[in-house]
């Protein structure tokens, strides 16, 4: 078990061309949990994740990792502790899978031995079940296969924090659950997992905690059931939805009836 870690956001405001994309957000993420950041398009989810990964500079406010401002950490150190999966991951060259996953070890190239780096790459390939493709060229993989390989790249850093922007986009349901289970197991081993998801039902199923953003503001922060009330869903997403009373096999379900009219 890793020691408890906290990623704290205090009064975070991000402005772009005089428009506030995030407005005084204060929220603390804790390790050992899967937290889903939800909200409709343009709510500021990706911006929040970008700030937490140290890639975007907030206009006001701060992001602290275990009490240390992220901005004061050396970039290498930050990258070793926080792994980030971008929403639209890019692969510019036809490298093979093992090479791509090894890119996740770049922040460690100067401090870890080649053998250690290689071992971490192998572990990441194993847990994502992508080892069988290690010699295949990434650009020849299907979208779903590629998404798993890119997740392996993120896991290769063996960071305490994993921030993933829409990690399940482009995966079929089986692989969505496989990836979700993987992230859950990482969280149960003490990792902090924060992700954005569009699929409310999936979010409700896999997240321990849900943070809902609406027009750059924090509107809910609780367990999925407590946060995703019909009222919140109506206000934020403009949909009529409810939690189903029947919860077979303890699978939480949200029934979306349609758009909210009125």
């Amino acid at each position: 078990m890793k020691p408890d870690s906290r990623l704290s956001i205090a009064a975070l405001t991000v402005e772009r061309s005089r428009r506030a994309i995030l407005e005084s957000i204060s929220v603390t993420f804790t390790s050992g949990k899967v937290t889903a950041v939800l909200g409709p398009n343009g709510a500021g989810k990706s911006t929040l994740l970008g700030c937490m990964a140290g890639l975007l500079a907030p206009s006001h406010g701060s992001v602290d990792l275990d009490g240390v401002p992220l901005a004061t950490l050396a970039a290498d150190e930050r990258a070793r502790r926080i792994a980030f999966l971008p929403q639209i991951p890019e692969v510019s060259w036809p490298v093979d899978v093992a090479t791509l996953v090894a890119l996740g070890r770049i922040p460690f190239r100067r401090i870890a031995s080649d053998a250690d780096n290689e071992a971490a790459v192998q572990r990441a390939l194993q847990v994502t079940h992508t080892a069988q493709w290690s010699h295949r060229v990434v650009t020849t993989l299907s979208g779903g296969e590629r998404a798993r390989v890119l997740l392996a790249r993120v896991l290769a850093g063996e960071s305490g924090w994993i921030l993933a922007d829409e990690p399940f986009a482009g995966l079929d349901p089986a692989h969505q659950f496989e990836a979700a289970d993987l992230l859950r197991s990482l969280a149960s081993r003490g990792c902090g997992v924060v992700l954005t998801i569009h699929d409310l039902a999936l979010a409700a199923r896999i997240a321990d905690r849900v943070v809902v953003l609406h027009r750059g503001r924090l509107v809910a922060d609780d367990t999925p059931e407590a946060a995703l009330t019909p009222a919140t869903l109506r206000e934020v997403y403009g949909i009529e939805a409810q939690w189903l009373a029947v919860r077979e096999r303890s699978t939480p379900l949200i029934a979306i009836h349609g758009r909210h009219v009125g």
Binding site: A79, E90, V91, W93, V95, D96, I106
Partner: protein, 325 residues
């Protein structure tokens, strides 16, 4: 993986073979006896003409191959090359300007340094025009613009100069060659190229990380601003110092990384050293070829490289046309 192990020794062996050929081949073919006999003329040809020519082929070919691989890695585009991007033309402009203004007469280092300055201005203009996430189209157009400015500048400056051989001079700069250079040229340019190569090699981590795009690279702790300066300096030095000696020789940096990518893998940092050695081999081969071609006067090396490289560029652009439009 096994192919990757033999490719580097094979390339090195090729360079040695071609260097020997470059020393031996010419209007007068030098045999092994030059080393054994007291053949004064043969020795002079060897030391004053052939040796500098072969060594410059190695150094400048390596510089152009390395610069091409680095630019392709940084811009994440296989069309990048100091020639196609106009960086070489800007280097030639810088060198020509220093000759015209008389600065080059003040100190022997001024000429190569002026080439370096021109190349660095070219790199900065390129970053300004194309940036990191440029499309192939933007990249090619930036190269067209920079080349147009530099070539017009070279022609203008040389036309204004009192030299009676203006036309010849313009051709000499625009279509470079390795003939008739001295060991002094080698001694002046090699240290600059070595420093530039060191700068380029120190950006290896950034080049690899950029495989994951700009955001991916930054999330891996890469300082892209630093990488940009390292490359502007590094490519500026290797290309500027090369062009100041040889004039513009295009397409080496385009062709070589592309040919080697299937052999050594596409990881940008892994491609740097092989591209340098491959660049040396290609330039030496071209320089031997110009001497073997029939005809009264020797064809400029730049002509041969363009004849090989331009159709190659055409084919590459054609295969990428969906991305371009």
């Amino acid at each position: 993986m096994s192919t990757r192990r033999w490719i580097l020794p094979a390339l090195l062996a090729l360079v040695v073979l071609l260097a020997v050929a470059s020393i031996a081949v010419g209007r007068i073919v030098l045999g092994w006896n030059v080393w054994l006999d007291q053949d004064a003329i043969g020795r002079t040809i060897l030391l004053e003409l052939r040796l500098p020519r072969a060594l410059l082929g190695v150094v400048i070919g390596a510089a152009l191959g390395l610069a091409g691989a680095a630019l392709q890695g940084y811009l994440r585009n296989p069309l990048a090359d100091p020639g196609t991007l106009g960086v070489s033309s800007m280097a030639a402009f810088g060198a020509v300007l220093s000759i015209f203004l008389g600065a080059a007469d003040l100190h022997p280092l001024i000429l190569p340094l002026s080439g370096v300055a021109g190349a660095m201005v070219g790199m900065l203009a390129l970053f300004l025009l194309a940036g990191l996430s440029a499309s192939a189209l933007t990249l090619v157009l930036s190269g067209v613009i920079l080349s147009a400015i530099a070539v017009a500048g070279i022609a203008l400056v040389l036309s204004l100069s009192p030299s009676p051989w203006t036309a010849g001079e313009i051709v000499r700069w625009l279509l470079g060659a390795l003939a008739d250079r001295s060991l002094d040229d080698l001694a002046l340019s090699t240290p600059l190229i070595a420093v530039g190569a060191a700068l380029i090699l120190s950006s290896r981590r950034a080049l690899d990380a950029l495989t994951l795009g700009e955001i991916g690279a930054r999330s891996l702790g890469i300082d892209l601003g630093r990488a940009q300066w390292l490359l502007a300096g590094g490519v500026g030095l290797v290309v500027g110092a090369s062009v100041a000696v040889s004039g513009i020789i295009g397409f080496v940096g385009l062709v070589v990384p592309h040919l080697l990518r299937p052999l050594v893998g596409a990881r940008p940092a892994a491609l740097l050293i092989p591209s340098a050695i491959g660049g040396a081999a290609l330039l030496l081969a071209g320089d031997v070829a110009v001497r073997l071609l029939p005809g009264g006067s020797e064809v400029q090396l730049g002509v041969v490289m363009s004849l090989i490289g331009a159709p190659f560029f055409f084919a590459l652009l054609y295969s990428m046309r969906r991305q371009v439009t």
